[in-house]
């Protein structure tokens, strides 16, 4: 049980969530962030920070995006910790409302 970053983060990676996390549980990939489920305390402060509503509690993951639960767990072990907000990716604005971005995930 933890919070999960969903596909709307891909190619945007706004990172506003990072600043509010009290346990530094976000991990940074090339074009997405994920949450380390072993560190997340389910405090939910990050949810309203995300401009693209990419973060939800595990039990609220919408149908069709269940794969992101395992993906967050897997990628969080490979990617490094991010503790400070960065500028969003340059293409964030044009991708923020695009659905079905899993195909663009870079590892």
């Amino acid at each position: 049980m933890a919070h999960v970053v969903l596909e709307s983060c891909i190619r945007c990676r706004y990172t506003d969530c990072v600043d509010v996390c009290p346990v530094d549980c976000f991990r940074q990939g090339p074009n997405m962030l994920v949450i380390d489920p072993d560190e997340c305390i389910d405090c939910a402060v990050c949810i309203p920070e995300c401009p693209v509503e990419a973060i939800v509690a595990e039990e609220d993951v919408p149908a069709g995006q269940e794969a992101f639960i395992a993906l967050n767990a897997e990628l969080s072990k490979e990617w490094s910790v991010i503790t400070q907000t960065l500028a969003p990716l340059g293409e964030a604005e044009q991708w923020k409302d695009v659905p079905a971005k899993l195909q663009y995930l870079q590892r």
Binding site: M1, D19, V20, P22, V23, E39, I41, D42, C43, A44, V45
Partner: protein, 486 residues
């Protein structure tokens, strides 16, 4: 942060809120008088370290604001955070190890009196702790810190080798092989950071603790009285020196470890010196553990013995916590110190909303009730303060009615809403900002960052006069509560 494997999500259920009349007829909001220990209501804010002191241990404006804000909610008493009795560098933890700290501490006392119109009593928690180091870089530990001894040479088959040669060899070993060469303590120092124990009798300053601590605690208590505090709470709980004397893991062979009588000996000697220093008309109590909650640690039966011993010695109150030990703490990241609330015992101390079948609300009730019953059975009326996930009025009232406690402590619930007390008392319970037990506060505490609550720390940041955290992102105290017009 350790979590029970069941991972059951719990939500606070405060139950019905009382009307103003029901509240004023309740036990919770009734006074308690027991010698020098007198409270206007049986509500209590236990000691919490908010990391607002200076690096030199002085009180800051932020400390004063913090306690004034709690006092505005009118709890029966506030216990000011763990304050170090020695005059040694201890980071931004308050200190009371020298007379120069008294004026700052007096500001807290004055602020609490003023904000509560004299109603809220203010105690201070006095703490001693042993040294704990940050987890080292392995290269630094093996290359510099580790004292090289003959045992290492033998294990490596390098008799006669220089220290440098031995260090070079150690640096080339796998973790597995390293565990064969280093002893258990050395491995722990490498993995967790070196941590002193009360059983380190080879260290003179540890061996002499029984000679040194009574005087240090007594001087600190005298200063607390001079600063105007209504009493002192001796910190005999969690991972620190005095709790380590009480622990069943204390095997000292100098008369201060081993049997229950020997383990409680120093805590009693400290209390006696404190009592002699401040006199019989000053409230002196302690916070101790109902259970250590670690393998080989003290059981509730042990703590029952301690509770009766403290009551018999003449303590004015007993405040119970549980767990919070270093022994089962999680490995910290390199450069960080172990934190005693990260393992299963830490979970018992500050259980979060992701829990097991028992849940995070009231895990300490049954053990505390057993200790209280034993104190009463021994003929003592010493008030017992119980904490641990209390957030609702019926829950607190029941605890008092069913002889579970004499005073109810609200730690995280009051951090989430310091006005819990005044709101519930005046029939505005519905306005309580309810703690969700996510332990956001604990995560900040672990990082020694200014402790705030996620329920209020980003609200109204643009209002005039709002004091912010160092990074300017969070407010340091919640917005004032304005009661609705009648």
């Amino acid at each position: 942060m350790w979590r029970p494997p069941q991972k059951i999500k719990w939500k606070p259920k405060p139950g019905a809120w009382p009307t103003r009349e029901e509240a004023s007829a309740s036990r919770l909001f009734s006074p308690l008088e027991a010698g020098p220990f007198r409270l206007a209501t049986r509500t209590w804010v236990p000691a919490m370290v908010p990391w607002r002191a200076t690096e030199d241990g002085y009180v800051t404006d932020d400390n004063v604001d913090w306690y004034a804000r709690f006092a505005a909610g009118r709890p029966g008493a506030i216990v000011v955070e763990a304050t170090g009795i020695r005059d040694v560098p201890s980071g931004p933890l308050l200190r009371i190890g020298h007379d120069r700290f008294v004026p700052g501490l007096r500001r807290i006392v004055d602020a609490v009196r003023e904000a509560s119109n004299g109603e809220t009593k203010v105690f201070i928690q006095l703490i001693d702790f042993l040294s704990i180091r940050r987890r080292p870089e392995p290269a630094k530990y093996l290359g510099q810190y580790l004292p090289i001894v003959e045992r290492h040479r033998t294990a490596l088959g390098m008799s006669g080798a220089t220290d440098d040669a031995v260090r070079q060899a150690l640096l080339g070993l796998s973790d597995e092989r390293l565990a064969d060469v280093l002893d258990e303590r050395e491995m722990e120092s490498l993995r967790m950071g070196a941590r002193e124990r009360v059983t380190d009798m080879h260290l003179p300053h540890v061996r002499e603790l029984p000679q040194v601590l009574p005087g240090l605690f007594a001087d600190a208590a005298r200063r607390a009285r001079e600063a105007g505090f209504d009493g002192v709470e001796l910190h005999y709980a969690h991972a620190y020196t005095m709790a380590s004397f009480l622990s069943a893991l204390n095997t000292r062979d100098d008369g201060y470890g081993g049997s229950l009588e020997e383990r409680v000996r120093l805590p009693l000697e400290v209390f006696e010196r404190v009592r002699a220093e401040v006199g019989p008309d000053y409230a002196v109590g302690c916070r101790f553990l109902s259970e250590d909650c670690i393998p080989g640690g003290s059981s509730v039966e042990d703590s029952t013995y301690f509770g009766v011993a403290f009551a018999r010695a003449g303590m004015d109150f007993l405040s119970l916590s549980r767990g919070g030990k270093f022994e089962d703490a999680k490995q910290p990241a390199i450069g960080w110190s172990a934190y005693p609330y990260t393992g299963p015992s830490g979970y018992e101390c500050m259980p979060a909303h992701v829990s097991d079948e028992q849940g995070p609300f009231g895990r300490n009730f049954d053990p505390s009730a057993r200790i209280r019953a034993a104190v009463r059975a021994a003929g003592f009326e010493t008030p017992v303060v119980v904490t641990g996930g209390v957030h609702g009025f019926p829950q607190a009232e029941e605890l008092l009615e069913e002889d579970g406690a004499d005073v109810v402590g609200f730690a995280r619930a009051s951090l989430a809403d310091p006005d819990w007390f005044v709101k519930v008392r005046t029939g505005h319970g519905k306005a309580v900002n309810m703690c969700i037990y996510a332990n956001y506060c604990e995560a900040l505490d672990e990082r020694h960052e200014e402790v705030t609550c996620q329920l209020w720390d980003r609200v109204g940041l643009d209002q005039p006069g709002v004091r912010l955290t160092k990074d300017g992102k969070r407010r340091l105290t919640p917005m004032p509560w304005v009661p609705p017009a009648a």
